[in-house]
Symmetry: C2
Subunit: 220 residues, 2 copies
DNA sequence: CGCGGAAGAATTTGATCAAATTTCTTGAAG
DNA sequence: CTTCAAGAAATTTGATCAAATTCTTCCGCG
């Protein structure tokens, strides 16, 4: 048998996934700096995997080179949020519409199951659980679009969005969060692609409005 | 304080830039594989810089992991081109419109100078010169938008577009290529932001049509 | 006798780590 | 306030190990 190590997945992939999730689900706050040495300690990984993970996430916009040799989670200014909103509201409804053409009953069932998790997390006030289940719902749907370039772009947008969303959740609680998924699921069952795209658009718009409101109230 | 510093550029940045330009300007063909060892030889760089350059460009969609351990320049299928077209036609006219709000006479002069280079390259049939000058024109404009997220996305799209564009140029010659830049420059001088966005949209549409036509005729 | 395929060896390539070097930051002294 | 030195962090090279591809050889079959 094999020994303890899973040799199938390279260490740099694992390290990338861990760091990505830390950013995506808000375990690193906007503005927070990351160092190679610090991640070597925290993630218990070697230097090469950590370096590559940082480079990848920098290329995806999840990290930004700050000044000379530092890298940090970027803060979402109102101007940046406008740009994010513009692209998200273009790309993600399109993904939903495309996905609507390839939906199977099995996938709809799976999405309902994920949405149940979202609801449970909201009722329990579990911020991390909400963020992860909400992400899972959207990307399980988007993957069905069979449009890898659009999915890539959506991933990058979510990485830029995640840290700030976490801050909002922590401030106002998870109960005030958007869940237009019922609307989306109804459209899926009805085979209504345009309605599905609209439901996703509303869901996204609501999340963006939450962050805009939080920004207006100060303290990012 | 001291003059615009001669900050030393790390080797991995230089290596990234070189490899990126090789892809962007079609010196690597669609489907062509790249190896770490090969790039160490060709770019005369160390292993770490090459690895990081590959990771970054993979994250940007300029390279794709092929099967088990290889990475290659992805081929642009009709389905992928549709996705690219959708996002390019959304993001780049928007970039043009935003840039239109920050145009200065100096920048317009500079863009005219770059467009002269484009024309010269077309008349000379210089494919590489055309690709580089055309890229310079668009991104000199886009940079003025002060919308870094949209610029990032546009860069990623161009990286996915470049190799196939080169193939089309090489096949039909550079003289059949789009140059709606005059239209764009006229709109800039008139302060017509909507017209500028339309001109850029036409320019992009023309480039996409060229590749669609080439794909329809076979041989990527 | 020639052809084809499979098994195994050799070479190439990728992944990871550790050490050496360079560069930047920081804090104290002039 | 500037300058210099010490320390920490990032960069880079080289070495080592693991995985995969390629090449070779040999056996069986037509």
């Amino acid at each position: 048998m094999d020994e303890a190590g899973t040799r199938k997945i390279p260490s740099h992939e694992v390290t990338y996934g861990r760091l990505r999730d830390m950013i995506l689900f808000g375990h690193l706050q906007p503005g927070q700096a990351v160092t190679i040495q610090g991640l070597i300690r925290d993630l218990e990984a070697g230097m090469t995997p950590v370096r590559e993970a940082i480079r990848r996430l920098t290329a995806e916009g999840a990290l930004m080179p700050q000044g000379n040799r530092r890298v940090a989670v970027p803060e979402l200014t109102p101007a940046l949020l406008d740009q994010l909103a513009f692209v998200r509201l273009t790309v993600e409804p399109k993904l939903a519409e495309l996905a609507g053409r390839h939906l199977t009953p099995a996938l709809i069932d799976r999405l309902e199951g994920i949405d149940d998790e979202v609801d449970r997390a909201i009722r329990a006030g579990a911020v991390s659980g909400y963020l992860e289940a909400n992400h899972a719902f959207h990307f399980a749907l988007y993957e069905a679009s069979e449009a890898p370039i659009l999915v890539d772009i959506a991933r990058s947008l979510w990485l830029r969005f995640g840290p700030s969303l976490r801050v909002v959740c922590a401030r106002y609680g998870a109960s005030a969060l958007p869940d237009r998924h019922e609307e989306a699921l109804a459209a899926m069952r009805a085979g209504d692609q345009a309605g599905l795209a609209r439901a996703i658009e509303n869901d996204i718009q609501q999340g963006i409005d939450q962050i805009r409101q939080a920004q207006a109230e100060g303290g990012v």
